[in-house]
Symmetry: C2
Subunit: 491 residues, 2 copies
């Protein structure tokens, strides 16, 4: 048995190399040793013999071991898009497959719109598969190109065609009806051995089948091996890596690999989880490189807060006044727009302030940012005045924008007293507008991710002024580093 996962969607065989190479990098970090680049293109045109067809000859020139060739299964597409006869279409499918095979390629045949084609004309749709099989295709991939097929239709149609084919089946689904993952799993359960999908489900319209859901479902639900337990532990890392490369927000609600996939918030669940972890999780978070999280929020009880503070004060009772005070403070700040789920370093600073186990690294006297733009160019400056142990530090910084300039000025002042801050790198900076009703006067939440090469932490700031919100998150970030280094811990 062979498992094939395809990263879609190259339109032509050559022009999308950057995306392919990103996927290879992604595969490489996850030890997908069996990865193959596959060129992707259509069958030849009706008027061209395969050897003179520009698409087929370009596919060969790509020099890949395998080629995915897509052809038409739906009579509507043959007549209205391809503008060929039904018989001609069968011929070009068989000829194109055969010619690529003769040229030594492994041929993956994508039967485009297969399910819609089958619904319109079952016999003709099957004939297109038989033509690809006759041409020597190694696998016949049934495509739900428009994404409108239901799982029970997938079952019905595969049951009907399976006995009439000799070649293994593959599945290629789209998520237009929310069924991409379900339809893939149903086909695999029926014996298909090839899945086409994408990391995080990226793809046109509503996306392709999300391999980050399909792969763990194969392993945990179908009980088969897709990439193996060891590789599976890096799935979340891969998912985040690809989202970083694609420069797309990492969906925290994503099954298995989302930041919230194993997060427990409501009081009743957290209590049950503490009694018996299996009760509210369908699989082990660590098996996919994720982790269980207890979230703090309006809905959290003292139990969750006490559990969070366990590493600061072991055995702290959930009815302790400090826990209750912190809970009140969290509720108030969440109401203002803070999210501590995504800013655990800010939470720890807040908790330690209430516990009195931290001192502030500096006192702000004032800061100001000035941003000028004219035909001559632009200029961004920040001036910071702070006090550390009775001494005044007055610094100025420049930057691409006001936040960057403020960061420079603040560090200039702090680094002379706290040299380990030089190791802090801002890894990520996110801005979210909280209430859009007031246009540019809306509240913003800034989340900053920082690292010192060994550890990573997240902080938050909320204000109607984006610069002030950024300042708050920056100050928490630098404060947390000093906390980690045991410089400002009290008692």
């Amino acid at each position: 048995m062979r498992w094939a996962f395809t990263m879609l969607k190259a339109v032509g065989p050559i022009r999308r190399i950057p995306r392919i190479s990103n996927f290879l990098t992604a595969c490489a970090i996850s030890n997908f040793h069996n990865t193959k680049i596959v060129a992707f293109g259509s069958t030849c045109r009706v008027d061209n013999p395969p050897e003179d067809d520009p698409t087929l000859t370009t596919l060969l020139k790509a020099g890949t071991e395998a080629i995915t060739l897509f052809g038409k299964s739906w009579t509507l597409h043959v007549t209205d898009v391809l503008r060929a006869t039904l018989e001609e279409n069968l011929q070009i499918i068989e000829d194109s497959c055969a010619w690529l095979k003769e040229n030594g390629r492994e041929v993956i045949y994508d039967a485009e719109h297969f399910f819609d084609g089958y619904k319109a004309d079952p016999e003709y749709a099957l004939e297109t598969l038989l033509a690809a099989q006759a041409g020597g295709a190694e696998v016949l991939v049934l495509c739900d190109t428009n994404g409108g097929t239901m799982p029970y239709q997938i079952q019905e149609i595969i049951s009907a065609i399976q006995p009439r084919l000799d070649v293994p089946l593959g599945i290629h689904t789209h998520n237009d009806a929310g069924m991409a993952v379900a339809n893939s799993i149903v086909a695999l359960e029926m014996g298909a051995t090839h899945v086409q999908g994408t990391i995080n489900g990226y793809g046109e319209r509503c996306g392709n089948a999300n391999l980050c859901s399909v792969i763990p479902n194969i392993e945990f639900k179908l009980g088969k091996t897709a990439i193996g337990a060891e590789n599976l532990k890096r799935l979340m890392e891969l998912s985040r890596f690809v989202s970083e490369i694609a420069n797309v927000y990492h969906d925290h609600r994503q099954p298995y690999v989302g930041e919230s996939a194993f997060a427990h918030k409501a009081g009743v669940h957290v209590d049950a989880m503490l009694k018996q972890p299996a009760t509210y999780e369908h699989c082990d978070a660590e098996a996919v490189g994720n982790q269980r999280r207890f979230l703090l929020s309006e809905q959290s009880g003292g139990g969750a807060v006490a559990a969070k503070l366990h590493h600061l004060i072991p055995g702290l009772d959930k009815r302790h006044p400090t826990v209750q005070k912190l809970l009140q403070k969290i509720k108030q700040l969440e109401h203002e727009g803070y999210v501590f789920e995504a800013a655990e370093a800010s939470f720890e600073i807040l908790a330690r302030q209430i516990l009195g186990s931290i001192r502030r690294p500096f006192k702000l006297i004032n800061y100001r940012t000035i941003n000028r733009k004219s035909v001559a160019g632009s200029e961004v400056e920040a001036i910071v005045k702070i006090e550390i142990d009775g001494q005044i530090y007055h610094t100025v910084g420049e930057g691409d924008g006001p936040v960057n300039a403020l960061d420079s000025a603040l560090r200039l002042a702090l680094e002379s007293v706290y040299p380990t801050l030089k190791d802090v790198r801002l890894e990520d900076y996110k801005v979210r507008v909280l209430s859009s009703a007031d246009g540019t006067a809306a509240k913003v939440r800034v989340l900053v991710e920082s690292s010192d090469r060994q550890r990573v932490w997240n902080t938050v700031g909320v204000s109607e002024n984006i610069i002030e919100a950024s300042w708050m998150a920056l100050v928490d970030s630098l404060t947390y580093k000093l906390l980690l280094d045991d410089i400002i811990v009290v008692g």
Copy 2:
């Protein structure tokens, strides 16, 4: 037949009223005339007779016509979480349902963890349903609380229990394996008549079944009536409304109601769509209040650009030099981080600049923003110097943040010359950090949505400086209003 859609998840019957009332508002705008508020809580405790149980008495006090009562189906939960005997659990299920019925309530029984319970002990799981049925429950809702059940297991289990029950079935799924919508539809296809889900699939961990996918699937795929064709046309509006209230990013890849659900980008698809619209769409976008969109991007050919410009220059050929020049410019700007899919007003301004059919409403001489923060408070000021028809306008504005202040100053200058700008409201302001690798020095993209009470338009700005990016989007927004009002159109 009765269709019930439940907005989850109230933890107690009273404390989450704000969320329930939001849902009611949402229902109201979509004419869901049959909406009922349903109180939600657990069966009584083992030691309490129903009439003395605080949960049940509070549920009654909520004063709702119907009550959703959840109980345990999984032996693990009975023994480890509830800490009761299996027999006691059956008794409290029956007694709780019966007591609520005696008090005149319609009882929806949620069999929590039903599928996991069935996998562990089929006979006991069924007995819990029979207990609820004996207690008089109107509907038995099978819950996949942990979200790990596959569609073929839903089929198998429902087939096995259906003949042994006399009461209609309901379905409640979670999306931990990406199956929430599929599992709901499979159950409905087998005859269930009650679905529990949420608008946009919001819910703990990976979410609940997304009603914005379930409802159109019922109508278009199962061929049954859920809310009817007229209400369905407001589904996208409802989805956006709830996302606005929940203050959560509206997922543009969401089936049916996502902004990208009917967006066609790759050149080959757009060409086919123009030939025959049904070929790449599984349902009509307008049926759910969405619309088909042709996107402009690196991958677009001249055909898509010409189609976009159709209302400016009817019959423009895709090989026309202006189309090619615009295509080049779009590719360059997209490379820098612009997205014209989400900023069609900025696209039109760009196109008209290249066509020479627009004049600039003003010339910038310079602007500057000053942001001060100290213990005494904060101060934000913007100063703008522009030229309109040889006349200099030098204005100052204040605001909550620098962008808001800049907006005030710019309007102060422009509104004296262009009074219709007073009608422009900024409806939404979004910030996206494009490359997080450089921390606070990363590039940002600002998207602004504006309206003049009659029309809505979107503009974009990209810069390493968030203030400059905001400025660009603001200027485009005001320029577009003047374009709509025919004030700066040339020729």
